[in-house]
Symmetry: C2
Subunit: 271 residues, 2 copies
């Protein structure tokens, strides 16, 4: 079991090229969690931005397309710094294993200043039950092994959990507390995992099989205060075998720290 | 004045390389509208997907980072087809003018089947006043010339228009009807313009200057039925000089056809 920092650590292999080891401990079923893989790629992109001399340590906007699921083990991230400006640096990244492209994307890095927000739509985090009243997830689930849940403590709001006992409510909304099992919650990139750790919201509609993420974009807006994160995931539209899913992450100080949106395919459950 | 099809037409220059002319008729102030530029880049990416032999004519997921505002006139779009699968083709695109990169991104193309949605969160489009009760925009505004508004007929809901007469409501939500001034509304890429044509929502907070888009991702979910589109734009968080803005586009049949999210900088209005 490795901490988030260790599981996403990158090493410089050549100018613009970084190595990372995809850690089996951060998998959902047999595949690495997409948010975890994205966090590793983002770590490499931020290293490239740092090497380019900008003062933009935070992944303000990361957009990625997922081409094929990575295997556990070594991967390479090729980066290209496309622009360095006063307020932002934009980096292209490509995560490969051998000839196979796994994830591609762009990251615009900036510096999150930590001031109080000038304005926000929802002054309060989503209402969910206290962590003690929520249902702590285990990595050994009826749907199989999810090692990721040994790394991220996920406590699901029971009011949105009917699907887990065969009573989907058709709301396609899930709420949970999330905390890294090891290490202080001081790494803004952990939010990239948090936005992708909830069970797929279509499970609240009907049983579905694998729901591969095709595209995911995340905006990090603040450095989280220490303590458990509150996460809400909601789908908007299920059509033509595609669904979208928005996630919001709030910190213990009641601040909106990240928002993401992904679009996924639905693969039907095998009979 | 040129139609949307003409203003976003691409011509093959070399394998994977396309030419497009940035049309001054689609500008907001002195800069081309970002959604329009993205539509032109997406047109090139879809041409590349078509040349690669896939049957994926629709821009299901397009994510772009805006590096510098284009000038009017010729631009080149370099494309690279990264993956062609059964349900999707993913293309990387880079829109340049000379050595200057303007917009970079990835597009995952698929085929929108046009079936009734399996599930959607909001069964009804956003409530806005009838087109007759809305305020038809002119390209000659108190804030300067917006030629785009001669190409896109925008009728703003007056209940969300207080900011225009010095009474911002602090809701950062705008609603409008939008229709291309010329040509049938049968081009799904027009939605990329529609999601970026609303006035910046922070105008409903206070006067601000230019609000350059840094990153924009759009998901197209259905081919719009003919008729005026309903568009809603909403900000969620204004902090550290950044704001996000979500837009939803509904067609005349009451179907959600597109969703987008962008993150932008705020440049303060000059005194």
């Amino acid at each position: 079991m490795s901490t988030f920092a260790a599981a996403t650590a990158v090493r410089a292999l050549a100018p613009g090229r970084y190595g990372v080891d995809i850690d089996p401990g951060w998998a959902s079923g047999s595949r690495p969690n997409g948010g975890y893989v994205l966090a590793a790629a983002a770590r490499a992109a931020l290293a490239a931005a740092d090497a380019a001399g900008g003062d933009h340590p935070h992944a303000v906007a990361t957009s990625a397309h997922f081409l094929s699921p990575p295997d556990d083990g070594p991967a390479e991230v090729d980066t290209e710094v496309l622009r360095t400006g006063r307020t932002a640096t934009t980096i292209r990244f490509t995560l490969r294993q051998g000839p196979s492209i796994r994830v591609v994307g762009h990251l615009t890095a900036g510096r999150l200043a930590g001031h109080a927000p000038e304005w926000q739509r929802d002054p309060e985090p989503p209402a969910l039950r206290s962590e003690a009243e929520c249902v702590a997830s285990s990595s050994q689930t009826p749907m199989g092994s999810i090692p990721l849940l040994d790394q991220v403590r996920v406590s699901m709001d029971p009011d949105h959990l009917g699907w887990a006992v065969g009573r989907p409510a058709g709301r396609l909304e899930m709420l949970a507390w999330m905390t890294p099992a090891q290490g202080a919650l001081d790494d803004p990139l952990f939010a990239l995992v948090a936005v992708d750790t909830m069970p797929p919201t279509p499970w609240d509609l009907r049983p579905v099989g694998w729901t591969p993420t095709v595209e995911l974009t995340a905006h990090l807006r603040a450095i989280p205060a220490p303590g458990a994160l509150r996460v809400r995931a909601q789908a908007t539209l299920v059509a033509d075998g595609w669904f979208d899913e928005d996630a919001e992450v709030w910190d213990s100080a009641g601040r909106l720290v990240a928002r993401s949106r992904q679009i996924c395919r639905i693969q039907e459950a095998s009979a």
